[in-house]
């Protein structure tokens, strides 16, 4: 656990703000809280937090707009808070540069895991050539994946899909992003493709394909590579 990480919370709900502050402080983070978008922007500029937790429903500025403004100069992780049944907003926020999302009501464990993952993404991992997850190891240079030491027979597409998700381990990737990265621009919108490939890939890499622990579905949003 990093001791000096400061997290900025931008949420207009006092109770949620306090809950987040208490939980994060208990886990050793420093926190700053803003109750509206304007203050949030100022706090982000003055304190340079390691990560920002941003509520999408702010009273003064639209959360998406605030996110775009932040992203003009702020490159560190942003996690958005959303309410139930607002997957479309989450996808939009992820497209606007948010790193992850949490929907209210959230579990504490989930919150901390997201923050840990987001902070880790901030570290430069571009030169990583080998990714380990459970009994799975992926070698990005030789395009091979092994499970319990045995080489898996993956097609080129399956490997690109796996490599993309594994490189962004812990982060949620939207359907459209994955389709664009793996299949190319012509395939955005083809979620059916993605479903079929993910199911196929799960059969090869998961211990129990029906209860996946590596390729996790974020319903209505995308996929996340589990840690």
């Amino acid at each position: 656990m990093t001791e000096d990480e400061t997290i900025l919370i931008i949420d207009d709900e006092l109770q949620i703000r306090r809950l987040l502050e208490i939980t994060l402080k208990a886990s050793g983070y420093h926190t700053i809280a803003s109750s509206n978008g304007k203050d949030g922007l100022v706090d982000a500029a003055t304190h340079h937090p390691s990560a920002i937790i941003l509520d999408l429903g702010l009273p003064d500025i639209d959360g998406q707009e605030l996110l775009k403004k932040l992203r003009e100069w702020y490159s560190k992780p942003v996690i958005v808070l959303s309410v139930r049944n607002s997957e479309a907003d989450v996808v939009e926020a992820l497209d606007n540069g948010a790193n992850d999302y949490l929907s209210k009501p959230f579990r504490t464990g989930e919150l901390l895991a997201r923050i840990r993952a987001a902070l880790r993404v901030g570290d430069d991992k571009s030169d990583t050539t080998c990714i380990e997850a459970g009994s799975l190891s992926i070698d990005l240079t030789s395009y091979t994946a092994r499970k319990k030491g045995e080489i898996l027979k993956l097609t080129a597409t399956e490997f690109s899909l796996l490599a993309l998700l594994a490189r962004n381990s812990g982060r949620v990737l939207t359907h459209q992003y994955i389709l664009k990265e793996v299949w190319g621009y012509g395939y955005t919108g083809q979620t059916q493709y993605l479903r079929v490939f993910v199911a196929q890939l799960r059969k090869k890499i998961e211990d129990n394909p029906a209860k996946p622990s590596l390729l996790i579905t974020e319903s209505g949003i995308g996929y996340r590579f589990g840690e």
């Binding site: 709900e13 109770q15 949620i16 306090r18 809950l19 208490i22 939980t23 208990a26 309410v83 139930r84 049944n85 997957e87 479309a88 209210k104 009501p105 959230f106 579990r107 504490t108 464990g109 097609t155 080129a156 597409t157 979620t191 059916q192 493709y193 993605l194 479903r195 079929v196 490939f197 993910v198 199911a199 196929q200 394909p209 029906a210 209860k211 996946p212 579905t217 319903s219 209505g220």
Partner: protein, 519 residues
């Protein structure tokens, strides 16, 4: 035109028509006036030439022709000619005529009487028509003036009934529609008359069958009442009923139609006004609903989220005593229940207001089942969950959020009623272009009396556990139906409750996983 003994005031048109008829009184008048003229002329017979007398009498005949019919004028002419001949032409007191000029004058009486009589009666007929037209125009004018002053449908009907009575002496009744094409079961006129079943049926079939282009404008009811469709430009306000056995002239029919059209338009105007007011009211209530919905959902969710988060956080740190841990666990469980209740209430109100929009995409049924069983982990812990989803299960085109709620509610329901340590079975299958889900528990099942009511709002089956609103199943059914699917409940042959869900799964472009094995 029908004469009606109950007329409150004399009918103007009738008055003219009566006066234009060559009645007995006219003959009487023509005899008296001719006689008087002859009497007045008799003293002149000695002082003036008898030809002058003939001019005077001819003048009288001409005069009579301006206000009497052809018959009385001819009678006057005959009387004048004969008396002139008898009393004034020498030899006096004989019908003998010597001179040719006297014979000519004698004949002239009849020719002048005939010509002037026919001419004036024709002029009078034209005049009568003009007056009739004027009266009709006036009637239409006062009708439209009075109708435009009417503030609501009742007033329009009252004015229409009154005017029809004045103009035609007919007691009219109106059967109006409710704005959605359904006719009222009462006919409204001077009094409200309840329609018999047969009348209502006939009126409805007449009203619904009469399309805008059809020439059929009338129908007959059993009581020999004529139904006349009230036509509007956008909607037909209803039917007018009149008791009318008279033959009408073309002109009268067209007048009556114009009259009816005026009433139709006034009724339609009121109807459209009513609809506009209704639409405005709906828009208002819709706005109010949205505000309430957003506020309530926000104001309830936030505190519950705070309670859930806080109690969950406490449970994550080592507790000082087992009592504390248990208490916090209770708070957490209660807040989850509250959260579920809020979601169900919000979902119910979304369903009730028709605000459900299905946003489907391709989803893996395994994902759906995993998400729901993950969320219900605590509730399902006492049971053995047997999930059977075939390997070849294709993706399903559905709204994940809605179907998640459906499965959540069904599984939660099973967890409430199945005996601890029993097996809950969940089976998925793809048949044709349908997704089938079957959920069977090994609990007591449903009593036969409960089965038809299970999906009703707030229905609690007999022997239900306390707690719960009885909304879960009705939401599940509502959301399934939003997918154009079906959800049925029953008892499994081997005992236990059984839910069967079926929704269209969409036509996958990729039929099976095998088809794209070698990409």
């Amino acid at each position: 035109m029908k004469k009606n003994g109950k007329l409150p005031k004399p009918n103007t048109l009738n008055r003219i028509l009566i006066s234009s008829r060559s009645g007995f009184s006219q003959y009487y008048a023509s005899v008296i006036i001719t006689g008087l003229a002859v009497l007045l002329c008799s003293p002149l017979s000695n002082s003036v030439h008898y030809h002058i007398v003939s001019y005077i009498l001819l003048f009288v005949v001409l005069l009579l022709s301006t206000f009497l019919g052809v018959g009385p004028v001819l009678l006057a002419a005959a009387l004048s000619a004969l008396t002139w001949n008898f009393f004034f032409i020498p030899p006096h007191l004989t019908f003998h005529i010597d001179k040719m000029e006297d014979i000519l004058i004698f004949g002239l009486f009849f020719i002048i009487a005939l010509v002037s009589g026919v001419m004036t009666s024709r002029i009078r007929h034209q005049e009568m028509l003009a007056r009739e037209r004027e009266i009709r125009t006036n009637a239409l004018f006062t009708l439209s003036r009075d109708l435009s002053g009417a503030g609501n449908i009742q007033e329009v009907i009252a004015i229409a009934v009154n005017k029809i009575w004045e103009q035609f002496g007919i007691n009219a009744f109106f059967i109006l529609q409710d704005g959605e094409g359904n006719l009222d079961s009462n006919a409204r006129g001077t009094e409200i008359r309840h329609l018999t079943a047969i009348e209502k049926e006939m009126a409805e079939s007449f009203f619904n069958k009469t399309d805008p282009d059809s020439k059929i404008k009338q129908g007959i009811l059993p009581g020999n009442e004529t139904m006349i469709l009230l036509r509007g430009t956008r909607i037909n306000p209803g039917i007018m009923l009149i008791k009318n056995s008279m033959k009408e002239s073309e002109e009268e029919i067209s007048f009556r139609e114009t009259f009816t059209a005026q009433i139709s338009n006034a009724l339609e105007r009121e109807f459209l006004g009513q609809l506009a007011r209704k639409a405005q009211f709906l828009a208002e209530s819709d706005r109010l609903y949205k505000t309430l919905f957003n506020t309530i959902s926000h104001e309830l969710r936030i505190p519950v989220a705070a309670i859930m988060g806080a109690s969950d956080s406490i449970l994550n740190v080592p507790a000082e005593s087992s009592l504390q841990k248990e208490l916090f666990s209770e708070i957490f469980t209660a807040s989850r229940r509250l959260n579920r209740l809020i979601e169900n209430l919000l979902n119910m109100s979304r369903l009730e207001s028709g605000r459900i929009s299905v946003k489907p995409d391709w989803h893996d049924i395994n994902d759906l089942v995993n998400k729901v069983t993950g969320d219900l982990e605590d509730e399902l812990r006492p049971f053995t969950l047997s999930i059977r989803i075939p390997d070849s299960m294709p993706p399903v085109f559905m709204d994940f959020g809605l179907m998640e709620q459906v499965l959540y509610n069904l599984l939660y329901n099973a967890a409430q009623y199945a005996p601890v340590a029993s097996v809950i079975e969940l089976k998925a299958a793809s048949e044709g272009e349908y997704l089938l889900l079957e959920l069977v528990d090994h609990g007591p099942g449903f009593s036969e009396a409960d089965i038809p009511h299970l999906f009703e709002k707030f229905y609690r089956a007999s022997g239900s556990k306390t707690g719960g609103l009885g909304l879960g199943l009705s939401i599940a059914k509502g959301f399934t139906e939003a997918h154009r699917g079906t959800l049925i409940a029953g008892n499994h042959p081997d005992g236990g409750a059984c839910f069967k869900l079926q929704i269209p799964s969409g036509k996958p472009e990729i039929q099976t996983f095998k088809a794209i094995k070698n990409d």
